[in-house]
Symmetry: C2
Subunit: 403 residues, 2 copies
């Protein structure tokens, strides 16, 4: 319930940054201190970092999504299920599809849009791993293509899957496909060797920026399981028939999944904020430059790693940490203090899954391979569930079979 | 192994008529009496009468298919996995995709083709329930359409399913859909009331020829579960957008499944035999008129019900009974007798399933409804498995939960 004299805090987006901001504010603020409203398109939050498994069909999407009323206390936080249409920054208003909301403080945590780098036809013809809706569509599309194969003239393109981009998501996705495709072959009576899974990357290596030894382990592992890699190979065009490479070669494929990168949400640019690839270079305390009452979290916030002199990648880990800082900083502001905390990411480690029981990663200076890395990945996933909803949430949605 | 002086018996098709002929010949004939060869496209037989469940997604197709080497003794019967291309009746040769075979006796049990009654676009745009391949394609197509709904603008046609024909298969199929669709709605976050399942029939009633009281029970049951019926309504045209009715009304639907009838296999007409809707009006002993050494079984054989003065419907029950007669008649011929048995169908009963635990039927003069009819249907299915492979086959593939 909104009451006079209490500031209205509006959170846009229920992804990692948004939902954790809500959870933190629920903890940090008494109900007499502020009205907090969370706006999200769906009545569920989802683990973006697990979506590649849903897309491949190795994990059901209901494992990946969590009902919002399982996370936040609806008596303390107002929840509005609606889609954000426009942010009117200077009027402190937000237009939703079905209503308008005003705010005193705003947290923008709207997540990413796919970055297609202007590649022709990609937006229209490639699938992307971005939401529960989009990934179950990928799963069913692949299933349907396999089901068509023995009916529709055994055309190779029906069982050719192209994954554009060999970054984190691309590699994790082909790892799941390597697990899933043999099952699909059994289901639809298709010889495994007929199926092609091709990972195409414009950069000279897969997992750019990753430790070389780990990358080599990953490539060897995936190639052994039937993944083809084409690095140093930009995609020139995507059509409903497949892709045309910059080399002039054409690969026919009924399924093209683009994982080649993300940018900040277009609503931020549309609102007139200054962005770089849709992201806002936020102040040290995570506020929008020039807008003391707006915070930015997650994929829409650009933070420079001063040591490496480049932006931190937009990860779940950082989004979650930002929510903690935003929670404390908002509490300070509401209590009349202007001493805000500086956000500093604390990178605990990075692990990329390569499928069931296989992963690579780095935790501190320690490199992890295979089953150990895979177990660490699950520990990280479970830790997030713990932050979200404590032990009960870990039990409900956790990946508890570590080995 | 083929040996000189032993006649070669060739069976074309591994459906009910063909596989049961093989089973019967394996029993009736000693291995010194004849060489028996079964030709089938796949290395499995399938229960055509269960395919509507696979198409709806309520039963996995592996329950419906049985590996041929689980049914026949490969040491006694030669099995050739190949597709029949042409029957050269006067040369006693059959052309397969990969080889040619000669015969002394032939059993044609090639099954049915869909009968589209010349409706424009039906062959190209409608699915049909006819094989393992075709039904798992239907299942995945429907799944994919539901998965697309929340991505692709919530277009009604994506979740509209038209079933053309309200005969046996059409009614059994919509009964399964009534069970399946609520599951799909949960899976893809779609309100059940948005989904349309429309059964369209040109004749004035559903299940033409069936007992009126049973038909009324079926319609009430199915309407209560969300099936719409349009009887007396011929389909004029089918396109990728849906159907155009003879009334001028258009119904947009991404899925059109045609169950409106079958005709005999085109290979029989192509071979130059005289047919009615692709079926051969066989002699009383099931031989091809004018061809003493060719038998016809199953959907390709036309048998007149003298009492009703119309053809018996092409059912599994009759095909199985024909195989018994053909087995005995072939044994007589090989033993030099010309006294062949006359085939007379013994209609034990007819039960149409309406989904899980629901059916209607008539056994003798007794009408069956609901759970009783459903249990009887399973008894019939299990009896066939018993005829095919004895108790072990019933245990392996049977429908053992009767209630």
């Amino acid at each position: 319930m909104r009451t006079l004299n209490k500031p209205n805090i509006l959170i846009l987006g229920g992804g990692y940054g948004g939902i954790m901001s809500a959870v933190r504010l629920q903890k940090e603020l008494g109900s007499d201190e502020a009205n907090v409203t969370l706006v999200n398109k769906h009545n569920y939050h989802y683990q973006t970092t697990w979506l590649h498994e849903n897309a491949a069909g190795t994990l059901h999407h209901d494992k990946t999504r969590i009902m919002i009323d399982d996370i936040i206390d609806m008596n303390k936080i107002n929840f509005v299920q609606d889609t954000v249409v426009e942010i009117k920054k200077d009027e402190k208003r937000v237009i939703l599809e079905n209503q308008e909301l005003t705010y005193d403080y705003l947290i923008i945590a709207l997540g990413a849009d796919p970055e297609t780098f202007g590649i022709q036809g990609l937006k229209e013809h490639a699938f992307s791993i971005r939401s529960i809706n989009s990934v179950r569509k990928i799963r069913e599309h692949i299933d349907y293509c396999f089901a068509r194969y023995n009916n529709d003239g055994k055309r190779d393109e029906l069982i050719t899957i192209i994954v554009g981009g060999a970054g984190f998501t691309g590699i994790e996705f082909v790892g799941e496909l390597a697990d899933r495709v043999p099952e699909l072959c059994r289901e639809y009576d298709i010889p495994r060797e007929k199926v092609r899974i091709v990972n195409i990357e414009a950069a000279p290596t897969v997992l750019p920026g990753f430790d070389e030894e780990l990358v080599e382990y990953a490539i060897n592992n995936l190639e052994r399981r039937g993944i083809e890699f084409l690095v140093n190979t930009p995609i020139k065009e995507c059509s409903e028939d497949g892709v045309l490479l910059a080399t002039g070669e054409e690969i026919k494929a009924s399924t093209v999944v683009w994982t080649g990168g993300v940018r900040g949400n277009h609503l931020i640019e549309n609102a007139g904020f200054e962005t770089m690839r849709g992201r806002v270079k936020v102040d040290k305390d995570l506020r929008m430059p020039g807008y003391d009452y707006i915070f930015v979290a997650g994929d829409c916030a650009l933070i420079i790693d001063e040591e490496a002199n480049r932006p931190y990648p937009p990860t779940a880990q950082i989004a979650i940490q930002q929510a903690y800082t935003i929670g404390r900083n908002l509490k300070s502001l509401i209590n009349g203090s202007n001493e805000l905390e500086t956000f500093k990411p604390d990178i605990k480690g990075t692990v990329a899954s390569l499928g069931k029981g296989e992963a690579i990663g780095k935790v501190g200076n320690k490199k992890l391979f295979g089953a150990t890395a895979s177990a660490m990945k699950k520990v990280i996933d479970n830790r997030y569930l713990y932050l979200l909803g404590g032990i009960p949430m870990v039990i409900k949605k956790g990946k508890l079979k570590l080995f």
